[in-house]
Each structure stands twice: as structure tokens, then as C-alpha cells.
Amino acid sequence: MVSESVDILNAFALLTNFIIVPAIAYGSQLALGALAVTLIYSILRFSNFGQGDSMAFGAVMVILMLALFQSDWANANFGAILPPFEFLSFVPTALYALPFAVVFTAIYLLVMDKLVYQHYRRIKAKPITVCMVSMGLMFVTGGIVRIINGPERMTFDDGARFLFSVRDFKEFTGLTQGIAIKTSQFLTVTMAILLVAFLFYFLNKTKTGKSMRAYSDNEDLALLSGIDPDRVVRVTWLIVATFTAIAGTLYGLDKGFLPFQYHQLLLPIFASVIVGGIGSPMGAIVGAFVVSFSELFLTYAYKKFLIYLLPGYVPDSLVQLIGVEYKYAISFVILVVVLLIRPTGIFKGKVV
């Protein structure tokens, strides 16, 4: 009897380690990207196809800054980068490069807005035209990313790899299955919570945030009451750049940096936005977790889980619903199902 209940605990430890923890981290990364898309959608009124590649741009900026930090020149002039406090030593160096990356991404996006998008706002182009322009910009950004860092996979995480490892967990609980939490996963969730809290505070409490919401709800009325549209657009891009650079870096820390993978993130991000309701920040977050949890639950091989849960039963296959290679297809199916059943998404976004 005792061993059976331990087996059940083991089974759920297995699920937590391989599905729940990664899904929360991946969902947070998606949520940050989806929030950026939803903000651009509700204020600049187009679907930004460049989101995935902009995230790659943010990550590349971090990689560039890291190269600078670790160069001989920086070591000679500033000494090695050391954490200010002892307990922060587990943090990867990339985190210190992140503020610079946010600034560079913001500059890049603002310049591109000036050069590209501003014109279409002035002539009041159809949203679909701007959408297409964003696809053109997506390839330009993708090209820049590949010129700076090449198209190959690379990793840039250092510091402690695990906040606590499988072995720690096993010693602590005495189970045979462990739960590990990677530093990158911990950082992802912490930063996502902080950023989302900031965003909601900003949108609901500050004057600028309120003017942004007003602009999003009714452009004409907002202009009539003296809101400066250029300022709203600028602040939007600044927030978007922050979210984009951080999401890109966290994703890179967690899964490694590969430009094409960022390009492919576009589909899960759009699925998150639409599932939640396009234009609704809360929806983007919920949508992101719906997408990430379904992706991991459906592509996990349940063989080991079933062995623990049903003693004496050994399945002859992997008991995997869908192969990992089709993980992006899951986003698409979710997208289609939502469009069929409830096109407004969970949180009733804009449908016009």
C-alpha cells in the first residue's frame, strides 16, 4: 500500500518535471511575446509579423554585449563582470547585458517605426497593408540577426544551470523521480510576473497608460481630448521593445539561440493572442498558457508515467499522442478550433 502511494507521487513528480515546469516557463515566454503583439495590435492596429524576429534581435543584442563584456578590452578597462551580491552568483551574465539589449531593441524599433510604419499611419492605410509591411520588415530583421550572429544554434547561458537539481530533490523527498528547476526557468517566471504586474499597473493607474487605453478604444475621441498620438505610439514601442528583448533573451537562455526557431515562434504567439482574444492583455497571457500546456501535454510520451501509475502494466509503445516534430501544429489546431467555436477568443477581443 505504501509503495503504491509513493508510485503515484513519483508519477506526478515525473509530470511536474517534464510538463508542468517547462510549460510554465515556455508559457511565460510566449505570454511576453503575445503581450507585445496584442499591444501593437490595439494601439497601432496591425498584426505584427515581425515579432518572432524582433525577439531574435533582442537576444542577439544580448549576445553582442556578452562578447563585449568578455573581451580583453573590457577586462582591461573595467575588470571582470562580478555579481554585486554573493547570492546573485547563480544569475547568468546575460542578465547584466539585458538592459543594454532592451535599449538597443527600443532604438531599432523606434527607428523602424519612423522609417517604415509612420508613413502608413499618416495615409491611414488598411491594416492588412501594414501587416504586409511588417512581413517585409520581418525579413530585414531576420537578415540583420543572421548577419550579426550567423544562422547556427548557439547557447549563451552561464552561471548555475539549476536552481535545484533532480538530485537535490531526490535527497530531499526520497522519491525516485525528481523535479528540477533550471535557473532560466526560474528567471523567466520571475521576470514575467514582474513585467506583467508593471504593465497592468502602467495601463490602469498612470496617466500615460490611461491615454494609451483611450487611444486604443477610440482614436478620434482620444485625439479630441488632447492626447498626443505620437507620444502614445512612442511609449507603445518602448514597452513592446522591453517585452520583446526580454522574451527573446529568456527563450534563448532556456532553449538556446537559433534564428529560425524564433521565426517559427510566430505561430504559437499568434495562436496565444487569438485564443485569448486579440487586443486583450489578460487574454494574451491566458492564451499563452493554453498553448504551452497543450503543446507539452500532447507531445509528452506517457509510457513511464503509466508504469508508475498502473503497477504491473507496461505499455508496448511510447504512449505519445502527437510527435514532438508536430508541436507547432498543435498551436495551429488550437487556433482553428477557437476560430470555429469562438472567434472573439476567451476574453472577447476585437473582431472587426
Binding site: 498584426s47 492588412i128 537578415g143 543572421r146 482553428v336 476585437k350
Partner: protein, 440 residues
């Protein structure tokens, strides 16, 4: 100067086509004829793809980000229709696959019927879930059995062994079917849902072709596809051909490649010209007037009783079918299906640049755009090498700068092509051959 601009204004189309012909002749005389014909053939295939996209964007303002997927469906059809069946594989797993296919169809039909009869959505969901499991059971066995049959040589089901020209038609139909299902779901909702959905379906089509080895051999590629034209070796041995080469004044071997490429060009040009004539006739017909009325003012057209969603669906399906046809032609011309060659940059993005540069809404414009962009794309390689050479002369052959540039210079063409597209959209939205304003 004045006269030049006058001629340009009044005879844009003729002047552009004359310039294009001159460039091709230049390549032919200076480099080689097979090269010039190769560029020409790919230009024509790209033109057909661009024409399909132009019908969607220029006639109806539909943004298709999944050109790659529709082209790949066309390519897959070539394999499935024209390859010889692998009898052993069919015997090993064909029965299971057939059952899986039937179960899949039943699941979809039952799901749709239950949904339309307004059953509780959980019942619909459960039915689909059960159907999926039943299908997967047979499917896994079948796929395994098929992939085990001679994996190095075949390892897939093969095709039906029908003529390859038929597969072009089927490729168009397959793309049309995919477009219909996507359009049925997303058209009538927000305009960018279609774009997002096409992006998704195209990625999924590529995953299927890459991963389902039993169907398409996956990344092992299917080579040696059937050709609608004679093989070079046969030609070289035929006496009438040797005489012909002598009369024209080429070597037999060189002339055989030229001859084969000319045969292909004959097929491709016939199809392109036919499509353009049909498209232009359609635009001038009452149907074309309706389409343009909807595009220019949806609200008024709806008020006049036109069904906009249905019209958009129709145009989307037609355009995608043309893209699928072009995809099938491309695979036939290359003689192999190589799933890794389907890159969004090469298929989706490049075709879009062609449409925008040529002139959206103008059918001849997509031909011009296809020609210019494909030519630049081909020549971007040599140009990049040239840049690298200049820099290595300045900075020294082994310096870090030179090595860096040599490694990365080919990514510059993404920036370059994106830049061209953005500039044209910004400063000359009509493209090189803008759509003529026709009286309604």
C-alpha cells in the same frame, strides 16, 4: 530626356519586356545558353506563382503568407501521382493505411455533421478524439511497415504511376482544397486571420512532407521523377538530333541540354500565357467588375447584394490553385522533391516581393516582377562574392573582417530583398507596371 520619359509613360509594358529580353540575350551570348534558359524557365514558374498571389492580393486584398505550403502541396502531388508504386510497401502497410484513411475521413465527417446538428461541443470533441485514436492505431502500424521496406531505396508508398502532366493538375486541385478549408474557416472574420492561418497551414504542410517518410520519403528526398520531355542521353544518341545540332551549329551535348530546357520552356510559357489571357478576360468580364467593386468598396458592394465572403473564398481558392500548379511544375523541372528546400524566404517572401515590385493588380506586372527579382536573386550570389573579394583586397585575405564578411555576406540578400519591398511599397505602391484604372 523628355522623349525618353514620354515613351516610358506610354509604352511601359513594351519597354520593360524589351529590356528583359535584352538582359536574357546578353546572358545567353556572354555566359551560356543553358544558363540563360535555366533563368528563363525559373522566371516563368515564379511568374505563375506570382500571378496566383497577384490574383489574391491585387483582385481581393487577401494576404496569403503560406505560398510555400501551397507550392509544396503541388510538389507532393507530383510524387504521389507520377512515381511508380512500390508494390512491396503497398502490400506491407497499404491495408492499414487505407483503414486509417477511411477512419480519418469518417471522423471528420462525423465531427462536421455533429457540429452542424448543434450537438453539445463536448460530444463533438469526444467523437473526434475517439476517431483520432482509432485512426492512429492503424496508422502507426502501417507507417512502420512501409518505412521498413528497403529504407535506403524506397521506404515509401510510391505514387500511382500516372503521367506527370496529370500531376500538375492534381497539384493545383490539392492546393485549392487546402485553400478552401482555410478560407472557409477564416474568411468573413478579421482580415489578418487569413494571413495567420495560411502561415500555420504552410508550416504544417512542410512538417508533414519532412516527417512522414511513408508518404514522401521525408528528408531523404524523392529523386528521378518522371519528365514530360525526353532525356538528354536519349537525344544525344538519336541520329536526327545529331543532324539537327550540326545544322544549328552547337555541340551535341550542349544542344541536348538546350533542347530539353526549350521543351520545358514550351510547356511553361504555354501555361503562363494561357493563364494570363484567362485572367485578363476574367477581369474585363462582369465577374471582374464585381471583384473590383468589392475590393474598392466592400460596404457598397455588400449593399448591392454581393456576397463578399463567398467571392473572397472563390478568389483565394483560384489563386492558391495556381500557386499549387506552379509548385508542381517546379518539382517536375528540378526532377526531385526536396522538403528542406522549402524555405519561407525562397517561396513566400520572394514571391511577395515579385508581386509588389511588378505591380499588384496587374497580371503582366507579376511577370515583370518575377523576372527582375529572380534575376537579382540569382545574381546576388556572384555580387556577394564580388563584395567579399573587394573587401579581402582592402583588408587582407586572412583578416578577421574578411572571414566574417565571407561567412555572412549571403544573409545580406534578406535585408536587400526586404529593403526593395519596403521601398517600393513606400514610394511607388503601384510597382513597375501599375494597375490601369478601368471604367467600371
Amino acid at each position: 530626356m523628355n522623349m525618353v520619359s514620354e515613351v516610358w509613360q506610354s509604352h511601359r509594358t513594351q519597354v520593360t519586356f524589351a529590356i528583359m529580353a535584352t538582359i536574357l540575350l546578353f546572358v545567353g551570348f556572354n555566359q551560356s545558353w543553358p544558363l540563360a534558359l535555366g533563368i528563363f524557365n525559373l522566371c516563368v514558374i515564379s511568374s505563375i506563382m506570382a500571378l496566383g498571389v497577384n490574383i489574391q492580393w491585387g483582385y481581393a486584398g487577401l494576404f496569403n503568407v503560406g505560398i510555400m505550403g501551397f507550392a509544396a502541396l503541388g510538389g507532393l502531388s507530383v510524387v504521389l501521382i507520377s512515381q511508380q508504386p512500390v508494390t512491396e510497401a503497398v502490400e506491407a502497410g497499404g491495408f492499414n493505411m487505407l483503414i486509417a484513411l477511411i477512419l480519418g475521413v469518417i471522423t471528420v465527417v462525423v465531427g462536421v455533421v455533429l457540429h452542424n446538428k448543434k450537438f453539445n461541443k463536448w460530444i463533438v470533441f469526444a467523437a473526434i478524439f475517439l476517431g483520432f485514436f482509432a485512426m492512429r492505431y492503424f496508422f502507426a502500424d502501417g507507417a512502420n511497415a512501409i518505412e521498413k521496406v528497403n529504407p535506403a531505396g524506397t521506404g515509401y508508398l510510391g505514387g500511382l504511376g500516372l503521367p506527370v502532366l496529370l500531376s500538375w493538375l492534381v497539384g493545383g486541385l490539392a492546393a485549392a482544397a487546402a485553400a478552401w478549408s482555410i478560407g472557409k474557416i477564416t474568411l468573413g472574420l478579421r482580415s489578418d486571420y487569413l494571413a495567420i492561418a495560411t502561415l500555420g497551414i504552410s508550416e504544417i504542410i512542410i512538417y508533414v512532407i519532412k516527417n512522414e517518410d511513408w508518404l514522401s520519403r521525408g528528408v531523404k528526398n524523392v529523386t528521378g521523377l518522371q519528365r514530360p520531355v525526353p532525356y538528354e542521353l536519349q537525344l544525344q544518341q538519336a541520329p536526327w538530333f545529331q543532324d539537327l545540332a550540326l545544322t544549328v551549329g552547337f555541340g551535341v551535348r550542349e544542344f541536348s541540354t538546350i533542347f530539353v530546357k526549350l521543351c520545358y520552356a514550351g510547356f511553361f510559357v504555354t501555361i503562363l500565357v494561357g493563364l494570363i489571357i484567362m485572367a485578363n478576360l476574367a477581369l474585363d468580364s462582369p465577374w471582374g467588375r464585381k471583384v473590383r467593386a468589392i475590393r474598392d468598396n466592400e460596404v457598397s458592394a455588400a449593399a448591392m447584394g454581393k456576397n463578399i465572403t463567398r467571392q473572397h473564398l472563390q478568389i483565394f481558392v483560384i489563386g492558391s490553385a495556381i500557386v499549387g500548379l506552379a509548385g508542381a511544375m517546379l518539382v517536375t523541372y528540378n526532377g526531385l522533391l526536396n522538403p528542406t528546400s522549402y524555405q519561407p524566404l525562397r517561396f513566400t517572401f520572394l514571391i511577395w516581393v515579385m508581386v509588389i515590385v511588378g505591380g499588384s493588380g496587374n497580371n503582366l506586372g507579376s511577370v515583370v516582377g518575377a523576372f527582375i527579382i529572380w534575376f537579382l536573386w540569382i545574381q546576388a550570389g556572384p555580387m556577394g562574392l564580388w563584395v567579399a573579394e573587394v573587401i579581402s583586397n582592402i583588408a587582407g585575405e586572412q583578416s578577421a573582417v574578411t572571414l566574417f564578411i565571407e561567412d555572412r555576406v549571403h544573409h545580406l540578400r534578406l535585408v536587400f530583398m526586404g529593403g526593395i519591398m519596403l521601398m517600393v511599397m513606400r514610394f511607388s505602391p503601384g510597382g513597375i507596371l501599375p494597375e490601369k484604372n478601368k471604367e467600371l
